[in-house]
């Protein structure tokens, strides 16, 4: 299962220190999420578009990803223009649309896309392992990061298990439909997956104890800041200040 879709590449952003990417992306995302100003949010989206270009991640996959993120926006655009009352903007027969009814969903849509682009272009261009390593250096509790690492490590394993069991069901003629049989089969399927993961976790734990595991992994390598990281942080600070000042 390939889920770190954007982490491979040779762009300057791919080779930037993951600690710096995390530190740069959090304030930008928070600023964008909290802003109520269309101009600021548009500037932020422009920043996201440029970062994605620097990372060289424009592809069909990126647009598919953005399309999924925008599904909830359809709900907003379908209801808000007609339900929010305010300054008159446009009407035809019984339907009337207010100015606020357009600006609010527009604001949310711009924000969502800007934040999605930041998340993909900054932490998304590092592997999860590199990000876990960076989180440890940023003083996130070690136990939490270790658990996140195990969680991520075994997703692929259980996804394989999942598709194997699903193939087995199909080979025996199972087809999902709306009935109690489907519910029963999926319930036993889920139960079996949990039993398998429980048994595997015991084996993994025993293997770890044998290797002197004490709840955390020691940090062996350390990051060093180079000129590239300084330029990156300066550029990100400029972007942040630009959006704030708009």
């Amino acid at each position: 299962m390939q889920i770190e879709s954007f982490s491979k590449g040779r762009s300057p952003l791919h080779s930037t220190d993951p600690r710096m990417k995390l530190l740069a992306c959090l304030p930008l995302i928070m600023l964008t999420a909290l802003s109520q100003d269309i101009l600021q949010v548009t500037a932020s989206l422009a920043g996201g578009i440029i970062l994605a270009a620097v990372a060289g991640i424009y592809s069909r996959l990126l647009f598919q990803r953005l399309a999924t993120v925008n599904v909830f926006m359809i709900f907003l655009w379908a209801t808000m223009p007609f339900t929010i009352s305010g300054e008159h903007f446009w009407n035809s027969g019984p339907l009337s649309i207010s100015r606020e009814g357009i600006t609010l969903p527009l604001l949310v849509t711009l924000k969502t896309n800007a934040i999605a682009l930041y998340t993909i272009a900054l932490p998304g261009t590092s592997t999860i392992i590199a990000l876990s390593h960076a989180m440890l250096h940023l003083r996130v509790p070690g136990k939490l990061v270790t658990m996140f690492y195990f969680f991520y490590r075994y997703i692929g394993v259980f996804a394989d298990e999942f598709s194997k069991m699903l193939r087995m069901l199909e080979a025996r003629g199972f087809r999902a439909s709306t009935n109690i049989h489907t519910i029963k089969v999926y319930a036993f399927f889920t139960g079996m997956l949990f039993i398998k993961s429980h048994e595997r976790s015991e084996r993994v734990y025993n293997a770890l104890v044998m290797r002197n595991f004490r709840g955390e992994f020691p940090l062996l390598t350390h990051f060093t800041l180079k000129r590239r990281e300084l330029i990156f942080m300066a550029a990100m600070s400029c972007l942040f200040m630009l959006i704030v000042l708009l």
Partner: protein, 198 residues
């Protein structure tokens, strides 16, 4: 069941982070090394299980099972839910970084409630396991949807119709999740009961 970025006001986001951080901190305090590996791996399974889509007439719904994860992980459920949502936010941009706190809270608090209320009834007769399972599945999804709708309402009056829509859309899920949780628990209780007692 996630709220996307850019909708909620900062008070709700900060409140969500504070409450979830407390939940995670208690979880980390109580957890032992053996439990760490188990909780993390159950959380991966929980993540995979959400890929099961159950056909419901012309559409389909995907399982949530947060009551189930609550019964299996107990006080660690805030960690189990939080790490799964963090990965989704980082890799799929479902939910998001700013909404991670409130989304974790909305899913994990009902899971914890199910653990506290229902775990004493887990051993014993078939009917007791089935009923426990059904109610933990049903109530956890019910409470999560309720919390989700309340969070949307804090974003202001324009979001009230969306909040109602979200609640109504999740009603069938409560029943299906209840049934799946009941039968899955019964299955585990027959095949490997020690998972439920540990």
């Amino acid at each position: 069941m996630h709220i996307s970025e850019g909708i909620l006001p900062w008070t709700t986001l900060a409140g969500g982070y504070a409450a979830s951080a407390l939940g995670v901190a208690i979880g980390l305090k109580k957890i032992e090394d053996r439990q760490m590996v188990k909780t993390a791996m159950l959380s991966s399974t929980f993540f995979i299980v959400s890929f099961i889509h159950i056909p419901l007439g012309p559409t389909n719904i995907h399982l949530v099972m947060n009551g189930f994860i609550g019964l299996l992980t107990g006080w660690s459920c805030f960690i189990a839910v939080g790490i799964a949502l963090l990965l989704q936010a980082l890799l799929f941009q479902f939910g998001g970084i700013t909404t991670l706190g409130i989304n974790t809270f909305n899913m994990a608090l009902p899971a914890l409630a199910c653990f506290l209320i229902f775990s004493p009834f887990l051993s014993g007769k078939k009917i007791s396991v089935l009923l426990t399972g059904f109610f933990s599945g049903f109530i956890s999804v019910f409470l999560s949807t309720l919390l989700l709708s309340f969070s949307l309402v804090t974003a202001g009056e324009p979001f009230i119709p969306a909040a109602k829509l979200v609640f109504a859309a999740n009603l069938p899920l409560m029943i299906v999740d209840g049934m799946i949780t009941a039968l899955a628990l019964r299955f585990i209780e027959r095949v490997k009961p020690e998972i439920l007692t540990s």
